[in-house]
């Protein structure tokens, strides 16, 4: 469903993403991993239109969406969350998710339809008890959930999650992995996650793309990646003798 070909983006002399190509098929759960500064977030921003690539093509369902405005890419069916949590602080949780539903179903959508959609999503993410809480009063973890809930209210076909698990304890990570698995299997939403929490990546994803200095250095199943020499070198440095 998503095909990225030869994607390149430089900031000054730094090549953040260098000739990156990959495809994602419908129903997959793909992780993009790599050391800090590998270009993972830049890749997401290039897909969602928050940055324009210098070179390369992003195709979504065989349609060229390269460099379109973010709202158009969202309407095409790609939702996302941000690495540094973004939320509307002065909304209640309910209102926050409602904006997503309005965006999806249009300004003239009947109120009860919108309400039902929002409540479904809140129920699924376990946010029902907090629906009248102001977003500014939530913890970071809950803010991320609200961001995810809002993205889900858009009923995307593809969801890009940027470090959703950062700062969670192991139990919460497992809970989120379960949640994402359900979103993927029950709602049929394809997932691309950028993540440092390997516990989540290994449990959740069926394919991993490894980036280093803007390039793709490996791609495969979790088991393949865990034993890949290039990946180990990228994380630990070349020629490190194994103790």
């Amino acid at each position: 469903m998503l095909k990225v070909t030869g994607l390149t983006k430089s900031f000054g002399k730094l090549i953040a993403v260098n000739d990156l190509s990959f495809t994602v098929n419908e129903g997959e759960r793909v992780a993009i991993i790599g050391p800090n500064g590998a270009g993972k977030t830049t890749t997401l921003n290039l897909i969602t239109g928050h940055l324009k690539p210098d070179k390369g093509v992003v195709e979504f369902y065989a349609k060229n969406i390269t460099g379109l405005k973010p709202y158009k890419i969202c309407r095409a069916g790609i939702g996302r969350t941000f690495q540094i949590v973004r939320a509307f602080p002065d909304f209640t949780v309910f209102e926050h998710v409602l904006v997503g539903a309005i965006s999806r179903y249009g300004l003239r959508a009947p109120t009860d339809l919108l309400k039902r959609q929002v409540e479904d999503v809140l129920e699924k993410l376990g946010l029902n008890a907090k629906k009248n809480t102001l977003v500014r009063n939530l913890t970071i973890v809950d803010k991320k959930r609200v961001e995810l809930a809002t993205a889900l209210a858009l009923k995307p076909k593809l969801l890009l999650l940027d470090e959703l698990m950062a700062g969670l304890n192991p139990a919460e990570v497992d809970e989120h992995v379960e949640l994402l698995r359900r979103i993927n299997e029950e709602d049929g939403i394809t997932l691309i996650i950028v993540e440092h929490v390997m516990r989540a990546v290994m449990k959740l994803c069926n394919r991993i793309i490894v980036m280093h200095y803007g390039k793709k250095i490996a791609e495969g199943t979790p088991a393949e990646i865990a034993t890949n020499k290039a990946v180990i070198e990228a994380y630990l440095g070349e020629g490190v003798p194994y103790a």
Binding site: H50, K69, R75, R86, F91, V99, I102, S103, R108
Partner: protein, 326 residues
Amino acid sequence: MLRNNRNNEHPEKGLFYSKTIRFLSIIIILIILATLPLYASSYVIFVTAIALLYAMVVAGYDVLLGYTGQLSFCQGAFYGIGAYLSAILTVKYGWSFWQALPISVLFVGLVSVIIGYPALRLRGAYFAVTTFYLAHFVYLILLNEVAITGGPLGFRGIRPPEPIGPISFESIESGYILILFSFIIVYFLLRKFVNSNVGIILKSIAQDDILAESIGINAAVYKLLAFVVSAIIAGYAGVLFAHFFRLLHPTTFSWFLSEMVVIITLVGGAGTLIGPVLGAGIVIFILEFLRFAPEVRYVGWAIALIAVLMFEPKGLIGLIRRMRRG
């Protein structure tokens, strides 16, 4: 912040204790305003009419500043364009007020689209400065195009609106009633607008337009919509002003008016609609009370403004809400 954690109620809940009290106070205020011509002097009526015109302009402006989060300084320009265009159409071309009114308002809307479309590509202060120059540009035209606007001599001979059936708008009282009626309708429509789905989208853009864009909202279009709505209402109030006051002078429409609109909105409490309206009433009357001492007027006003922004940045409405919470 921590103290507020327990108080998780919806922030929009009630300016007053209950809906009944709120409803009653609105009725009482409306009755006082509607019966004003029966007992008040024409001076009081006149000042109240000006306050109502300001209230309309700031309520419209609140859609842009309070709800959509875009600071602009050009409501005076739209007010002036509406006033002068309607005056020119009626006096020089013999149109009736009722013909000139919609055309003038439409024209103001058109100007706001032409200005707003490119200007809103700029963010924050850059947008604000651009609109500031628009306001000054319009003022300079009003001042210098003597053949069209009368320049510093002013524009004279504007007639009151033509009567509709038996209702005449000749007297100051009837003009006042027309303005009051307009204000009620404008306020009602704006309230419906900001409470609609569009309103909630505008509020989301004010808080984080990048996030709004990434959830499928075309922020540029909504910002333009808010800009045009605020402009049209300022233009409409300007038309009413021209035919109520019947003498136009460029200084009325200088940057000072635009700045007053911003200040009233902030002092009243941006993003509440009712706050700026109350602010307009209070500010206009305070300025009138201080008329005996013109030197003190704006100094006192400036001190009051600084005090409000230091002690209650959410404006009068914020103060009332805080008092309510105790």
